[in-house]
Amino acid sequence: MSKATEHLSKIKHSLARRNRAEARFRWYGRIAIFIGLAAVAVLFGDIVNKGHGAFRTTYINLDVSYDQDLIGVNNLADSEQLAAGNWDALTKSALRTKFPNISGRSDKRRLNNLLSNGAGFDLKDRLLESPQLLGKTESVWMLADDDIDTYYKSWLAGEPYAARLSDKQVIWIGELHQQGLIKLQFNSNFFMRGDSREPEQAGILGAAIGSFLTLIVTLMLSFPIGVCAAIYLEEFAPKNRWTDFIEVNINNLAAVPSIIFGLLGLAIFINFFHVPRSVPLIGGLVLTLMTLPTIIITSRAAIKSVPPSIREAALGMGASRYQVVLHHVLPLALPGMLTGAIIGMAQALGETAPLLMIGMVAFIVDIPSGFSDPATVLPVQIFLWADSPERAFIEKTSAAIMVLLSFLIIMNTSAVWLRKRLERRW
């Protein structure tokens, strides 16, 4: 009896130890999850905090008189006249009318610097839109210079930052603010324009279109090739040393650093096949090389998860192997394949390194309109802006990261949604 109780007390003792170990282990898990979530929260919080300002920008209201003599244009249909027109004169005279007591070259230059140097061209567009304004005067909200924008936002936030502004400019802004002639407004330029050296004129659209075109090329090439390769390897290829060798190498390719693919693209596509550099076509080709292993591996996993009983049933009915694949395996594996493709695309969307090697790091102002137009992509745009010295680019960088992240979140969410939607139970 005493032996039995001793035995029991030993078990109880060890039980307490096991329970403590389990409780400890649960806490490790909770702490790990907390650290992960905290890191994500800090990252997102920091980006949003820095970047949200870029979605609004500063405009200044001035009376503009569209004086024909001032611009040197009397016929708006004459493109030569339009090209030679002195549009900056409009903004300069508008500023001079607002602040008539300015004298001296440097003060005049400071005054002119209140407005973006693109403001004159905005007036030209406005005039072309409504030609009846020629010779008349109207009050217009015009884009302010990025230094003014930075100062005005920081001043509104209660921590004025006037590093590059002169005292006079600060006073002028104060006056404009008192008269309600300066305000923050939704920054449509950021979403409607390409890159620019002037932060207030720089936009994300060029890079977004570039990314979109590049991803189209990537998807069009990598999805069919990847799915065909996966189907062949899973359903048709004999199991021998060769297919083992191929399988090992596909897995190896998935682990190759992406910059190597950039070098490969440079050597093969550009130097050998003479594909033009810095265009969505070459970007898509290189990213195809990079995403193919991902798509092949996920597609093979999706095909493997189709129960063999379905194949047997179809074969037993006298379906050819091609019919088995087309009628039964492919429809069941498709959700998994699509998920893999979207994850591969999301990976490609965020990829920078291989694109640096093929010239997509270039400064490109125009919005690309085709697969062979010079373009850049979102992550490269972020890299370029992060590298720029102007303070206003800090918030642009964060805003561009937000745009990229929202694209990634949309893609990953749609992958989950597609999987849930198309998944069939058996």
Binding site: P238, K239, P307, S309, I310, R311, E312, A313, A314, L315, G316, M317, G318, A319, S320, Q323, H327, H328, L332, R424, R425, W426
Partner: protein
């Protein structure tokens, strides 16, 4: 055979000499058989051949890579008969069945030797297309495996891929007839376009049978068709086999001796890849010729 007749088969087994009289003493009274080796040279006993053979198999050997699963099996399957293949697990009965419609072709490393003919035509001839063969020799599997499609599409699949129906009306007719023959029509006629996977296990298996007979095969192979089903569903499938035997030749693998006794005309007993005995079912379960058959059906091993 109807379920009402079932007790007869059970009684048949009880009649055999070694079977215990009282239920209580079942376990101790059966003397276990330990030496199951039957040596390399073996001749199948019983009525191996038929006057009216549908399929003839001669000297069949099946190998999985280096391992031999079937040793020198010869047997005939007669027209419109139900032949049951029984034997302990791993005896090769399923492997043998799958050789009859060349399903073993899909298994890597599987090799079939010997001569298999249907109506005199060599099924392993190089120019024979397995697609055509499988339209003539249908198969029902152990686990019900309807396609994840509608009930209608499941049955219509075979006729569609083989181009058996010219019009939609023809196809509808084939589907209805097949479902009626599989005695499933009354249960599903209101929901033909709902997924076949939503049916119960027994209904799914009858759907698979309907799918197999939709292409009007000459022979139907059934690989333990009731092993995943409950007794009531099993009884319905067995009734169905009885009905189908009027139009089709059926080869059924089963690990239930009672089932073999209930549904089949002839029974083949496999042991370690060898065919031990083939005889009319009644004889196999009352007066088996071979001592191993007797040992197996009386439950002394397996």
């Amino acid at each position: 055979m109807s379920p009402a007749e079932t007790p007869k088969a059970v009684k048949v087994v009880k009649k055999s000499k070694t079977a215990p009289k009282s239920k209580k003493a079942v376990a101790p009274k059966i003397a276990p058989v330990h030496n199951l080796d039957i040596g390399d040279h073996h001749v199948t006993v019983g009525e191996i051949f038929s006057d009216k053979p549908k399929m003839t198999m001669r000297n069949i050997n099946v190998f999985y890579a280096d391992k031999q699963a079937i040793h020198d099996v010869s047997i005939d399957i007669a027209e419109n008969e139900v032949i049951a293949m029984i034997g302990p697990s791993g005896c090769g009965k399923s492997t043998f069945l799958r050789a009859l419609n060349r399903m073993n072709d899909t298994v890597d490393g599987c090799r079939v030797e010997g001569d298999i003919r249907m109506d005199g035509e060599d099924l392993y001839a190089p120019k024979l297309d397995v697609v055509e063969l499988r339209a003539r020799v249908g198969m029902v599997f152990q686990k019900p495996n309807p396609f994840p499609k509608s009930i209608y599409d499941n049955v219509a699949y075979g006729p569609k891929i083989h181009g058996l129906a010219d019009t939609r009306v023809d196809l509808d007719e084939i589907v209805e007839n097949s479902l009626r023959k599989a005695s499933l029509w009354e249960e599903v006629k209101e929901r033909l376009h709902q997924p076949g996977t939503g049916l119960s296990g027994g209904q799914q298996q009858r759907l698979c049978i309907a799918r197999a007979i939709a292409v009007s095969p000459e022979v139907i192979l059934m690989d333990e068709p009731c092993s995943a089903l409950d007794p009531i569903a099993t009884a319905r499938i067995e009734e169905l086999i009885e009905e189908l035997s009027q139009n089709f030749t059926i080869a059924i693998v089963t690990h239930s001796m009672q089932q073999a006794a209930r549904v089949s005309h002839r029974t083949a007993y496999f042991h370690l890849g060898k065919l031990i005995e083939v005889n009319p079912t009644k004889q196999v379960f009352t007066m088996p010729e071979h001592p191993l058959t007797e040992a197996y059906i009386t439950g002394r091993f397996g």
